[in-house]
Amino acid sequence: MADVAVGKDKCGEQRLVSLPLSRIRVIMKSSPEVSSINQEALVLTAKATELFVQYLATYSYRHGSGKEKKALTYNDLANTAEESDTFQFLADILPKKILASKYLKMLKEKKEEDEDDEGSDDDEAES
């Protein structure tokens, strides 16, 4: 069943979904609270994932810096995760790359801030 909707069939006709349903199901089931998924929900999730990949790629390319160079880079994606509300949930797995020297400077600044007014950081984290 899972193989049915994968790739193109013998006649070269476009299949409904090109991502492997079996793998999508494994990912869905890795979520502990999910008990069962019907076939339609599985097909729809696979299709949605395809649309998502297309949208993330085109959005990042259009808003990215590589348009003149005809390139899509990691930083374009990281920018999308940072700037777009819809793609905000990706911010953790697509962190912006910064130079180590810059990071160290940030750490130092943060430490100084913490020393200036202690405890305020914790309050922020909770709110």
């Binding site: 991502l19 990912i27 998924i37 076939q39 729809l44 999730t45 297309q54 819809t86 697509l94």
Partner: protein, 147 residues
């Protein structure tokens, strides 16, 4: 289920093909960008599943269904996916219906042939057995989905 972490990855070849088809011809996609999109896709599946599961729970259902996934898209602010997803669902239902009718048609054809030669019949029966085995496999798969 997912014993190895790589089980949660989607196949790179397929992801790359989807990206290439979405972007204008000749755009270079860095290797890092590809793997980032692939990871993002896995996270998207988890996020969508979790949202859909909330809707199923609200409806006091144990099994995620198509409407839960559609509601999840709305909640996740991917409303733009809803129309193409509904179309895909229609297409999928048509496909399933078509398959069912095709197998019923085959059965009817077989019944008509029961009067024909002994040899032919046995050959048909062989085919029928194969089909039944296939159907059984499909059923097992579906049960698997529900567990």
């Amino acid at each position: 289920m997912a014993e190895r972490p790589e089980d949660l990855n989607l196949p790179n070849a397929v992801i790359t093909r989807i990206i290439k088809e979405a972007l204008p011809d000749g755009v270079n996609i860095s290797k890092e960008a590809r793997s980032a999109i692939s990871r993002a896709a896995s996270v998207f599946v988890l996020y969508a599943t979790s949202c859909a599961n909330n809707f199923a729970m609200k409806g006091k259902r144990k099994t995620l269904n198509a409407s839960d996934v559609l509601s999840a898209m709305e909640e996740m602010e991917f409303q733009r996916f809803i129309t193409p997803l509904k179309e895909a669902l229609e297409a999928y239902r048509r496909e399933q219906k078509g398959k069912k009718e095709a197998s019923e048609q085959k059965k009817k054809d077989k019944d008509k042939k029961t009067d024909s030669e002994e040899q032919d019949r046995s050959r048909d029966e062989d085919n029928e057995e194969d089909e039944e085995r296939l159907e059984e496999e499909e059923q097992n798969e579906e049960e698997d989905v529900d567990n």
